[in-house]
């Protein structure tokens, strides 16, 4: 019934690429989000302004436009930079070329970092100030305060937003096939063109995405339960 016409391994490979891409982008955007939120809440006006410009621009421009912009421009800038370096020292030929996967991770991380910044900013502000003051009064260094007090409590408030962002990232990886990554969509397209059954193979790709989003929903529910330990819900 499920006749993949020999394209099974390719589709499986594509699925792996999609999952890797989304996980790596998640890590990158998570880190950018933490940095961005810290910048937005910092005392320095310059950092606050920078973070605000970043989140406003990124969230106002479609992700596909940003992806094409960064993907094509980054390579040219890198070429210019390496040309410049080569012109300084002629001894070695220095070259950096970006493959679609790396630039996919960079662009997705950079784009969704803005969304994470907003999520984390809200979550940071939701942690009671007294807790941070108490931690500082105990003599904890800022990093320790972050690790022991701020982060664990902030995560509880951030999780619903994180869950949402993760789903969006997972679905946004589909766009990376447009800049040439051999992910599940490319595999499904090749298979469809080879067998003239595009509908069938595209539906398979859709089902794979559906499977991934459903699984991650389950995992996020578990995480939510873990971080909600010790929190009493109001019984209405």
């Amino acid at each position: 019934m499920l006749n993949l016409a020999g394209y099974g391994p390719q589709i499986f490979q594509g699925t792996i690429v999609t999952v890797e891409l989304s996980l790596l982008s998640l890590v990158v955007s998570f880190i950018i989000g933490l940095l961005g939120a810290s910048a937005k809440l910092s005392k320095s006006r310059f950092l606050r302004g920078l973070a605000t410009v970043y989140t406003t621009i990124i969230r106002g421009v479609p992700d596909l436009v940003l992806m094409l912009l960064i993907f094509y421009s980054l390579q040219i800038w890198l070429n210019d930079a390496t040309d410049y370096l080569n012109s300084i020292q002629n001894s070695i030929d220095f070259e950096v070329s970006l493959d679609p996967f790396t630039s996919g991770v960079i662009t997705l991380g950079f784009i969704y970092g803005a969304y994470f910044t907003e999520t984390f900013r809200g979550a940071f502000m939701a942690v009671p100030r007294g807790q941070l003051e108490a931690a500082r009064a105990f003599g904890m260094k800022p990093l320790l305060v972050f690790r022991r007090i701020l982060f664990p409590q902030m995560m509880r408030y951030a999780l619903p937003g994180l869950a949402n962002n993760w789903q969006v990232i997972l679905k946004a990886t589909a766009l990376v096939s447009l800049i040439g990554l051999s992910d599940i969509i490319k595999a499904a397209q090749y298979a469809g063109e080879g067998t003239f059954r595009t509908f069938f193979f595209m539906s398979i790709a859709g089902l794979v995405y559906l499977f991934l989003t459903t699984i991650s929903n389950g995992v996020l529910l578990l995480l939510e339960r873990k971080y909600a330990v010790g929190v009493r819900k109001a019984v209405l």
Binding site: L64, S73, L175, T198, F199
Partner: protein, 234 residues
Amino acid sequence: MIYILQNFGREFLYTDGYHITGLAMTLWLLLISCSIGFCIALPLAILRNARNPLIWGPVWVYTFVIRGTPLYVQLLIIYTGFYGLDFVRNSAPLAAFFKQGIDCTLLAFALNTGAYTTEIFAGAIRDTSFGEVEAARSLGMSQFTLYRRIIIPSALRRALPVYSNEVILMLHATTLAFTATVPDLLKVANDAYAATYNPFASFATVALIYLCISFTLIFAFRKAEGHFLAFLKP
């Protein structure tokens, strides 16, 4: 950048001389898909809150499938997939419909935003306060009047902030139209890039245009919120 604006300015805004392109096309896609999506979503949101699982079940499946898969996949299924099916190719009207990139794009976009909007409205309807419904019932309103006069106006108002978000996301999603050969803003930017080999100028121009549309929409929705949600003001 100036070269691009001089040579592609008109295409970016409204036409290449033969078709609607650029900004006009993007806004057209946004308007049509959001209108159709709204019309799909309103009845489905009511059905989504029905007590009978045979009624809310199918609606749930629809929103679950659409919200669980990327729009790009949906567009590819509709644009490249359907035309390959025998029954589509054998029926003239269907074949004519699915041959057109813009028809497929609008169908995919409307189905997509319809699913998200359904969940938004359904959530707002679910949150209608018990007292409002009770009061309406005690006044002897029929089920239809109850929905028409009380539940839907109040739910739509409360859904407005979330719905504005969805419209912005839909604006961002219209960029996918160029993969189905629809000449929207991004397609023009792509042409400009192909003509000049200057990716930064071409895509930055179009990014600025999108930024302006986003800000205009946000401003308009904020005005609308001030008007329709005035009773919530502190």
